[in-house]
Amino acid sequence: MDTTSIGGCAPEAAICARGITRDFEAGQTTIRVLHGIDTDIRSGELTYVVGESGSGKTTLISIMCGILYPTEGEVKVFGTDIYKLTDTELVNFRLKNIGFIFQQYNLIPSIDAAANAAVPLIAQGVPLAEARERAKVLLDKLNIGNQADKLPRQLSGGQQQRVAIARALVHEPRLVVCDEPTAALDARSGRRVMDLLREVAVAPDRACIIVTHDNRIFDLADRIIVLEDGRITHDGTEMPDDH
């Protein structure tokens, strides 16, 4: 693994991205979605990536968490230049270091909440019973311990989201990536989820990135990065006035 530093990275940066460009082919045309993005994501912070649909925010976090190769540029996650890893090393890196919360949860419908939450541990080779026990502890912490044996279809949307949060945190990753966690929730539930995320996913040695365009929760961010047409137009602790 290459752990040499990229120029200009802050020492406390969980993610250091430099010169990130991403092109997509659309028939004969090449569309540039990201234009040389330089940014750092710091540990201990709740960082929002905000922008209109098509601004490139999903592409940016996909690249930053190692599930989409950039056309150009380098990404270091906790000091590891992840796109210099082999495919298998990269998959293992994600498994060990990154937790994901998807907008549609993507829980496996035929296994119960505890097993769903335990998936990263099971994938790491932890025995099923032990993985379930560890997941149940986290579900308890998220106040749905009593739902551990229920299938996803037996849970409410909010409960399913908590299972998804548990799945993202069960293996104690150093980076948590959330995609539109409040998009399907009313304002009150959305704030509750964000409080929960701040409580469990933000720590001095852990970074949390949230992709959102839900302006109801902007005030809860430690830092907001605004993307427009594949370029960062704002990077600060609050949303700019014109948004």
């Binding site: 599930i67 498994l95 993507n106 496996i108 419908p109 035929s110 994938a123 799945r167």
Partner: protein
């Protein structure tokens, strides 16, 4: 992860049972049709199997099977007996006749004349009665297929009189015989009686059945008989094979059964392929999420492999059990008498199931492997 794969499969009960049905139906069709085919064509050799003592069959050079034979002069028997290595040789007559039953019905029968002294040529076992009843005058022994054909009302055939080419024949026993390919009624009688029952041409000796001396081989004796008598001599195994080959070469049975087996395979590919593809497509988001979380493609392939293996194992077992139940269930039907499942057939259908799952699994899994982990964010 394999546990998760199995739960993903069994959790979608509609598709799980659809996959099981596809595999089980294919296995059943392939195994059952091949079993019927093999047993049916083996009936072409039933005449040989029903005379178990004969190690060599001697016949006119143009004769091909027990049912397609050209009679020899009676002197052929003495010629064969004079060949070194022949322990014993007995006459064997096979002919067609018509029999009028007590109800007045006319039925075509095969009359088989066995050696007067030793009764060699009779099936090994009797279903009812004793072989020695054949020493009584005008006696015939009917095969068990004949009982169901001529006495379908359930009446006992023992003591019944038949009119056999204007001759009186009395049934005094029932032989436990392997039915012929056409399930013709067979009447066994002594050779001398058979000559009366079946009037015909000057030459009426169909076969000479031969036993070989100790230390001789059937092949060696058969070759020696051919060389010294000019007759055709085949070992038991060769002559049985000739009967099977005759059926295969002269009927449309292999083609018809082959088409059915092929259709079973195609139906399996279609049902399993479609259902498996739908199953994986329905779970594509979950597989995408697993890939994003950190499950490798090779582990995904293992997961799909386990799912295919589980479906294959259960579906195949159900198909084979269905075939066994079918054969057992119809065992009392004369058509299926003595049917068995050769061990090669379940292996062939297992190979077919593996091929079906490999083809369908390969086609279905491509969409999963092509899915980018980043797709879960879209």
């Amino acid at each position: 992860m394999l546990w998760i794969a199995i739960r993903m499969l069994t959790g979608d009960s509609q598709k799980f049972y659809g996959l099981l049905f596809g595999i089980a139906f294919s296995t059943l069709l392939i195994t059952q049709q091949m079993t019927i085919f093999v047993n049916l064509v083996e009936r072409g050799a039933s005449g040989v199997y029903n005379a178990p003592e004969a190690e060599v069959w001697v016949m006119d050079p143009v004769s091909r099977t027990t049912d397609v034979s050209y009679a020899m002069p009676s002197t052929a028997l003495d010629k064969v007996r004079s060949v070194p290595g022949v322990e014993w040789a007995v006459p064997h007559l096979r002919a067609q006749a018509n029999v009028r039953t007590a109800d007045g019905d006319l039925e075509g029968v095969a009359v088989i004349g066995v050696d007067d002294a030793t009764l060699i040529g009779l099936p090994k076992r009797m279903a009812t009665g004793d072989k020695n009843v054949l020493f009584a005058p005008d006696t015939v022994v009917i095969d068990d297929v004949g009982v169901t054909r001529l006495f379908s009302n359930g009446a006992s055939p023992l003591g019944e009189r038949l009119e056999l080419n204007d001759q009186r024949a009395v049934i005094r026993g029932i032989a436990d015989a392997i039915p012929s390919f056409t399930s013709t009624v067979v009447l066994y009688t002594r050779y001398s009686n058979a000559l009366n029952f079946v009037p015909g041409t000057r030459n009426r000796l169909s076969f000479v059945l031969v036993g070989i001396s100790p230390g001789q081989t059937a092949e060696g004796v058969a070759a020696r008989i051919e060389k010294e008598t000019g007759l055709k001599a085949e070992t038991r195994k060769e002559f049985a094979r000739a009967g099977v080959d005759f059926i295969i070469q002269n009927t449309g049975i292999p083609t018809n059964f082959g088409i059915t087996v092929f259709l079973g395979f195609v139906v399996g590919v279609a049902i399993v392929g479609l259902t498996f593809s739908l199953f994986l497509r329905d779970n594509i988001k979950q597989f995408g999420a697993l890939k994003a979380i950190g499950v490798t493609n090779s582990r995904i392939v293992q997961m799909v492999g386990v799912q295919a293996g589980l479906v294959g194992m259960i579906g195949y077992s159900l198909g084979v059990v269905g075939t066994v139940a079918f054969i057992k269930g119809f065992g009392s039907n004369p058509f299926f008498k003595g049917f068995y499942i050769p061990w090669q057939i379940p292996l062939i259908s297992l190979a077919a199931v593996v091929v079906i799952l490999a083809i369908t699994g390969f086609i279905a899994i491509r969409s999963v492997l092509r899915t980018e982990p980043a797709a879960v964010f879209r």
